[in-house]
Structures are given as structure tokens and as C-alpha cells.
Subunit: 319 residues, 4 copies
């Protein structure tokens, strides 16, 4: 299947895919299929694989490629972005080429820890673009909470001006609302390209970011249909309806966004929704206590009650 | 006025007080009075002054004491806890004694950056307790996001066992829910004291924490009446009602909890509600753009609409 | 006594002064006098007070001023630079003015943690210079190991171009040799001022830095006469002799430069040399074990043996 | 060739091997051979491969195994320790088994960033030991400057008591001298095993650590013969002679120990000594300016002059 490459026009919800394992810790390809189908039924517009939340760092190189190929083969033409961040530039290049050969639409690169100053960031990405060549579309993952590397808006603009293959900002600095607005304002200058901006941080500020000009979300919230429906509302010019819906889910968005145990919660929900056969993470990983699970029960019941009261239901499940 | 000392039985909402400045950056004592009155009208049970959000680090030593005395004089008998964290232990001791002489109910101490290992934390607090003596009640502020110092539950339990003056945990680790449960479970062992736990993190996990055994909140959310009403619901055995109310405010709780600009948002709301005459922070501080303010307008309108729809109103204002 | 203000022409050794305390932890002004005299006998060219190694953060505001006044009054006309870094800009301003009124030659300002990107650094210092006015000479303390704030050479050059009162770089980034060379090369451009550069990091790279264009050292090594003699050798065009001498002391330079216990070692040496009456630090501070002291004995004996073998002696002591 | 497994009796110099690349960035196996031979001629007692300084994080999994096999095949029976730290425990296990099958004597594991508190460290290693089984000897790499994880002496002692396969501490905390003494003192208690301690930090405190009970060094200083000769002096009961020799090299030990450019200096020296064909690092890596190289010239000339004056020469070179 020929999949189009990622461009500045990308929009919608690119789900950060979880990686399912068996209870014994082996890659669970059947669950990867059911999970892919689940995401598709939720209406997502694309996939992002091997992100920080996808436990990519616990896979072998071979397993990573297996995951990428499997999802691409089942994605019904949806674009797949592959995370290729690595401490060595040669490995970034190799992973990116393998991903593109497998049919990826583009790659995502976060800066390595330790870059210093504006020029340190610019020069690193200049090296990345030189190594990847002009034909691989690149997403800048701006996640300083983990990388420790600050992206000044001016540096991002220099990169956009100088490298056509930079087509998207995955925006998850915090606070980040001002940066998003800054980038959108800057794009009004003549001659500057408008790039796609998808937002992360678990979607915690999703409606605010959509109002400020984001093109959608790239995150792994375990009810992806909410991300899609909110996007649709905004696309139809109904921001208030979008935010009303978002607010129903906000208690769980916030709950999943807790550091360290967020992924355990997310996989538990995917498990309960039938999308994967086991909520297990590869070690070292967090796990949920009985108290955590009871708490989650209650929060999900509250969600269902509120959805029902608003005339909506939890419609998507894996059959 | 004789104010009782802080004990393990403390509960309710201890508001983290903002420090008002004039547009020129001077301490604004009149606004401090109106702000104190505003907090009292919101129904808060106590005050915490000179916390991290109170811009304490930008005050002179003299100004700090002026703030403490002014609020204590106007607090209508509510307990006042004073933050006395300092890089030097002698200064911790001096500030604590000055606060107690001024009528404080107790003091709050965060660990200094750089403590190493469980023993490093224990030994630091052992030094603090030795320096303060047995008569000054102490709150342990567990805020590793800023201090970088992790408090193991076992270390907290050793401190509780060994130092009677440790009466409260200000709980704001993240993730912190498991730690809260761990401490509450541990207290069931014979011979262990039950201490008060008030929760921070802007109240972001307030209902979950209340369900797990917290005694209330110690944070600076700009609609303190919500913190109080939620507390009251839980005290009356109505957790679902408490959480329903909380969820109405959650979009703003989350909005205020953004790093770096949270305080600017909080002071802006206090300013709009008439509690202070200027939203200004002392430099270096964050400020709000026109976009930020328009966004806040919209979020407040949404809150008011939802409160109205639920049969509640924004009842508290400074007259 | 009228003391000249600090200028771009400053050179030599500005000793980072220790702050002596009694065994009970009180400020020991008599030891401050003997220490000042000791430094003067060592031949130092200036003083830097209230630096990070001077336990400034454990002094009260009043004590800080007492130290500044006492040393200035006894400094025999040597320039005194005062550290005025503070989380609040108003406090920076106040401390700087108090220091200048007391007779300081200039002030030193490190960036507060959390500044983001090149513009974050530039804008903070622009605020500082605006607050201090054009008449207070300022030293930029570039110590990212503690502050976490990287100073890009280009940012320093912008600041030098835009603010005449910026007259000195205290250079202690690591690695920092390339930055020092970068700044010196940049100064050859027409219209750019040459500023003074004094080096820190305990003097660990002192000869290399002098060869690259440093004007001297600003550090607190407990044998200040070495710093002075090395400077003199370089000033006389004898870099190899300077480095030969430096190498004799290098084992102790390196030993004192250990994190966390460096100050304990430094004060112990000052105590043994008769410069202060007690090696005590204010709590929380590090202290030396019996093993540490025996080790130091051996290292000092080795130094004395090597100095004797090279025809030099440990000439300076407090009488 | 059968190589004995690593035990608590390990001593001497285990060189951290550099990984040579061609100017084009390919793994240079011929240089790996000449480098291995060079190390052997220097008299080293063992090898440590795939450490942080070996650019292991820039190799592919296949390349890592090639390096391990190649060196083991040429090591003339010297023990080879292989670094197997990885974010995923399953990968630690896999790498360790591959290394042992290739003939490694043991493996080295550093803690992953983010472990919290004493129990966090203990539990992680308990998981590692469970995953590896009792037959793979393990070195604990204690390098908090990079990992951010503090190892309390008491935790190390618990691990030694509970897991027989923990046979060595690679000691490079800073300050670390007190920890080394603490561990050695603790081992005098009846029933506690004495483990091997080899020291890192570029050897910066090597003589002090040997006097406190270290068994040798595990570091990558580019004049490994010095590490060996100092070890020999200590082994013969001549600590002063050992320290005299060390001090001749200390200026270069310190120079190589600079963050970020240390590896560039180290590879440049190995290149100049004929041990490798190119000093190139894989990107992103540091490189030396003309000024850096001239500076290094001068420092090497100074070393040679001092060695000659002391009746020693730079005897080892690759022919």
C-alpha cells in the first residue's frame, strides 16, 4: 500500500500507540492487531509508534521493526509516524530509513539531553536533517519535561525556515500555550511556512491549544474517541461543544497524566476495554495496587454516568 | 489573641496565601487585608504564609515578618502556618521562633536541594527538630518537583515515630496517591501516631486524595470556596457530591497548575474577584498576554455557566 | 577610604573569602579580621564576598552587611566585589546598593535557576542592569554546574555590547576553555569591548585559562599565595614557571575541588594555617572525619616536601 | 579460551576501552585490535567494554557484540567486563547472556535514572539479580553524576549481603572517599563479604582511593601504563612512590576529566600514541579545535619533560 508522506497539512488525532506484551513479557502481536483495530474504530487519523509512552526503549531493535511493520500493515492507509530518537546520530539515520522503507509517513525526533543554548539545539537538528536527507519528513518532539532541552520559538522558526523536511511540531512543553501562539503568530510573516502542530501532554490542555491554532492531538489517552470527537467539533466550528465533551473526560485525562503511573493506568483501561489481552508493562515498569484499581473503577463509573447524562455513551469497544 | 498550636488533628482548608504588591512592586498591606478577609469569607480553616507560591523568596526578612503579623492579626483566630525553609539551619530556627512569637500555630519546612538517600533526609530533619526544640509544631512539605528530594514513606514514618512535633504532612509528591495510602495504612500499626495530611499540587487530585484519607487541602487555588465546599461534602460523607463540585472547577484547577504561569493566573483571578488591587508579581515573574487574558475570560464564563446549570453560583466576592 | 570601581581592566587574584564562625556557629569577626590580613599577606589583589563558597546563604541580611563592611574597612584599599544574587530582583537591587554604599567596587550576579533559552538569559540580565542603573559595575558569574543556566558566548557578547556596566566574566563553566577562547577571539572584532575574565572552578584549569587570555583567578583556594605567584609568573611572561608552581599544588587544588566537602577542607586548611579560629561551617554543612584529616595531613606534608625540593617554602602564615 | 569469572578478588587496572571508528564513522576493527594490543602492552589486568566512555550508546546491538567478541578473542586471557545497562530489564538480561556466552568474566550495571529512595535502588538491583540468575558476576557502577541515582552505603551493604553475584563496586561517586572508607569499614563486621572496589572518575582521586582500600582502577585514562605502575607501587607497599608518579600525570588526568570534551582528548592521545587510526567519535560528539590541540601538545611536552627529569620515559607506544 502506498502511504502518502507527512506534510505541513497533517491534522487530526495521531494516537501514540501502546505496545502490548503478554503476561510473560513477550511482544504480543495479536494484541497489537486488536489494539490497532481498536484505535481505527475510535476514528483516529494516524499513528505514532515507538514514542516515549510506547516502551520503545525496552524493545530490541528487531522488535521495534516488527511493531512498525505490523501496525503499518494493518493501519488501513492511515499515516504512521515512527519515533527514531537515539543517542547516536548514525542510529537515528538507520532507524529512520528502516521506518521509511517499512512505509512510515515520517519520523519524530526529540533532542538528546545535554544540548546547550539556542545554537546547541539548532546545530543538533541541522545534523539530523543532514543525516536524514531532504526526503524524510520530520516531527520535532518538544518535550523538555523529559529531555531537559528547551526549544526557543526563535530556534524553531530558524529550523522551519532552513529545513523544508521539518513539517510538524509535537508540542508538549509546559507551560506551552504561549509558545504555540508565538509560533502561529510568527507564521503570519510573509515567506514563512505554516507547519502542523499536534499537541501532547496527555491532552491536558487540548481545547485551549485547539483554540490557539493547534491542528489536533498526538497523545495516547485511553479513550481516543474523545480526542477525535473534540477534534471534529473544532473542525466544525463548535469549540464550546468540543470543550464540553473534553471536560467530561478531564478527570481521567488528568488521572492518566500522573508521572510514573500514567502508563499503567492507560494500559489498564485499554485492557478493560478489550483492546489488549494484558495490561503488563515490561520491567522496570509501574503497576497498579488494589486501591488504584478500585479508584479507577469509580472514576470510570463517574465518566459513564456523566456521558449518559449528557446523552452520550461509551460507544467504542473491541468486540 | 491566643491561637492554639497545630496538632495532628488539623483538618480542612489551609489556604496558601498570595502576597499582594502594588503596581510599583511595594508590599500592599491594604490588599493583604482585603485578601485575608476574602479568604475568610470563603470559609477557609487556616492560612499558610510564605510558601513557595507566596513569593516569600522575593521578600526581605523584615517584609516577611510584616506579612505574618498582619495576617495573624486579622485571621479571626484561624491557625496560621508559616513557611520557614531556608538554606541555613540557623535561619530556619530564627524564622521559626519569630513566627511563633508572632502567633503562628506551627511552621512548614521543605528539605533543601541536595540531600542524599534516606538517611540524608532523616538526618536533615533530625537537625531541624533539634534546632527548633520540642515545642514548635512542624509540617513536612513533600514537594520533590521543586526540591528534588524524595521522601520515602519509611523515612516519614521514622520521623513521625521519633519526633512528636512532626504533626502534618503537606503531601504534594507526584505521583503521590500511593504514598498517601502507604502512610495511612502504616498508621494502623499499634503505637504509630496518625498525623494530619493536607494536599497540595494545586488541588489537582483533591477528591482522590480525600477518598484515600487526606484531611483537607493546603493550596492556593483562586476559588478557595470550592476547596472548602468539597471538604465539607467529604466531611458530611458525600464524596460523590464533593467530586461533582470539584469537577466543575477542574478545568481551572488544571489551568492554574501550569508551571511558571500558574501564579500569574492565580493573582489575575484574585484581582478580578476584587481580593487584591493589582495582579502584579515582584520581578522576576510571569505575566499574562492579551491572549492569556481572553482565554481566562472564556474559561471563567464557562465555569459560571456550569455553576449556574448545577444550581450554584459564584457567591464569594470582596465587597 | 575611596575605592575605585571595578572596570574591564581588573586583573590578578580576587580571593573568594570564607566566612568564619565560632564553634557555636556565631559570626566570628575577629577571625574575619585575621583572615582578611592573611589574604592580604598572601598578596591577593582583591576580594569577593558573599559568594557561593562564602556560606552567604546561611547569613542573615544584617550579618551579610556586617561582613561586607568589616572586610572593606580592613582591605587596605583592595577592591571588594560583593555577591548579590537573589531570587527576587528587588533584593538584588537593594543588596547591590547597600554593598556600593559600604564601599564595594562592584557586584557579582549569577542567573537564577530556571531561565530558558538564550533570550531568557539575556532578558534576565537586561532586567538586572535596568534595576541597578548604569553606575554599578557588574560581574557575570557563569557557574552552570550550580545554577543550571548555560551562558552561550553569543549571549554574553550581546550583553557586553548593550550594557557598559558589565565589566567582568567570572568564568567557571565546565568545560569552559573553548568558551574563554571564543570570548577573547570575539573581542578582536572592531567596536567590541574587552572585558576582564577571572576564573573559578577552584583554579583547576588556571594555567590553561591564563594561556588562553584570562586576567587572573577568582576562587577560594586555601593557599592563595600560589594563585598570586602563578599570576605573577604569567604577568612576567613566564608561563612555564607559573605552571610548574601550579602543578606542585595541583593535588590539593583537585582535593579541595571535590563537591560537598570542598569547603570543609578549605576551612580546615585556613584553620591550620592560623587564619581562622575554627573550621566550623554553619549547619547544614559538611565536616571531616578522622580519616579525612589524616589524609589531609599526608597531602600537606607532600606539598611541603615538594615545595622544599623546588627551593620554595610555605612562607605565609598568620602570626 | 576459558576465562575465569569475575570474583571479589579482582584487582589491578581494568581499562575502559575506547571504541575506534574510521573517519567515515564505521566501526574500525583493525584499530580495535591495535588498541587492544596497546592496552595489553601497557600492562592492564582486564578490560571493561561498552561503558559510558566507550560510545556504547551509539553502537547497534550487532556492533556491540562484534566489539565484545573481537576484544575477548585478542585479550590474551585477561578478564573482560561488559557494560549491559539498559532502560529495559529484558534487554539487560539479553545483553548479559550474550556477553557471558561470548566469554565475558562479568557484567556491569548502572542504575537507570529516576529510581527513588533507598528502596528504589535496592529493588531495582534485586530485579536485575533475579533476571540474571546467580551465575553472572555483577559490578555495580555507582556514577550518580550521570545517572542521578545516589547509592547509600547501607543499600550497597544490603545488596552485598543478599546477592552473592554482586562482586564489585565501580566507585565513582563524588565526593566518594568517605563512601569508600565506609564500605571498607563495614566489611570488617563478621559475616560480611569483602568485595572488589575499582575506582573511576578518570582516576582523579586514585592515590587517595588506593590508600583507603581500593583494589585498583577502572577508567580510560589515555596513559594506562601510569594506572598500572601506580597500582604496582601500592601493591609493593610503596604508596608514596605511587603518588609521586601519579602526580606527574595529574595535569593530564585532570585535563581529560573535563565534561563533554574528555573523550575527544582521550581519543586524540590514543591516536597520537598510534593505538588507533582516527580520533573520530560518532556523532553527536565533541571535537578539538586547533587551540585545543596546541594546548594538548604543550601539556604532553610538559609530561615528557617531567617524566624524563624523574628518570622515567613514555615507554609504551604502538609499533
Amino acid at each position: 500500500m502506498t502511504i502518502s508522506k507527512l506534510t505541513e497539512d497533517a491534522k487530526g488525532v495521531y494516537i501514540i500507540g501502546a505496545t502490548p506484551f503478554t503476561d510473560e513479557g513477550a511482544l504480543d502481536l495479536q494484541s497489537l492487531d486488536t489494539l490497532t483495530d481498536f484505535y481505527l474504530r475510535c476514528g483516529i487519523h494516524g499513528f505514532t509508534l515507538l514514542g516515549m509512552m510506547g516502551e520503545a526503549h525496552k524493545l530490541t531493535a528487531d522488535e521495534s521493526l516488527i511493531v512498525v511493520n505490523r501496525v503499518i500493515g494493518r493501519a488501513q492507509g492511515r499515516q504512521v509516524i515512527v519515533g527514531v530518537s537515539h543517542a547516536g546520530l548514525e542510529n537515528v539515520r538507520r532507524l529512520a530509513h528502516e521506518a521509511m522503507i517499512a512505509g512510515a509517513a515520517g519520523v519524530m525526533v526529540a533532542p538528546p539531553p545535554g544540548l546547550k543554548g539556542d545554537d546547541g539545539v539548532y546545530n543538533y537538528y541541522a545534523q539530523v536533517f543532514a543525516a536524514l536527507g531532504p526526503d524524510i519528513p520530520v516531527v520535532y518532539q518538544d518535550y523538555p519535561q523529559t529531555t531537559g532541552v528547551y526549544l526557543a520559538p526563535a530556534v524553531f522558526e530558524r529550523l522551519v525556515d532552513d529545513f523544508k523536511q521539518l513539517v510538524m511540531l509535537k508540542h508538549e512543553d509546559a507551560p506551552g500555550l504561549a509558545k504555540l501562539t508565538h509560533v502561529r503568530e510568527g507564521e503570519k510573516k510573509p515567506g514563512r511556512r505554516r507547519v502542523s502542530i499536534l499537541v501532547g501532554n496527555g491532552g491536558l490542555y487540548y481545547p485551549q491549544e485547539m483554540r490557539r491554532g493547534a491542528d489536533g492531538a498526538m497523545t495516547g489517552f485511553a479513550w481516543p474517541e474523545m480526542l477525535v470527537q473534540v477534534y471534529d467539533h473544532f473542525a466544525r466550528g463548535e469549540p464550546e461543544k468540543g470543550e464540553d465533551l473534553f471536560d467530561l473526560y478531564l478527570p481521567l485525562v488528568r488521572h492518566e497524566q500522573q508521572p510514573a503511573i500514567g502508563l499503567a493506568l492507560r494500559k489498564e483501561v485499554l485492557f478493560r476495554r478489550g483492546a489488549i489481552k494484558s495490561p503488563r508493562q515490561r520491567a522496570p515498569g509501574s503497576s497498579l495496587s488494589a486501591t488504584d484499581k478500585t479508584e479507577l473503577d469509580g472514576m470510570i463509573k463517574r465518566l459513564e454516568r456523566r456521558l449518559a447524562a449528557s446523552g452520550r455513551g461509551t460507544k467504542i469497544a473491541a468486540e
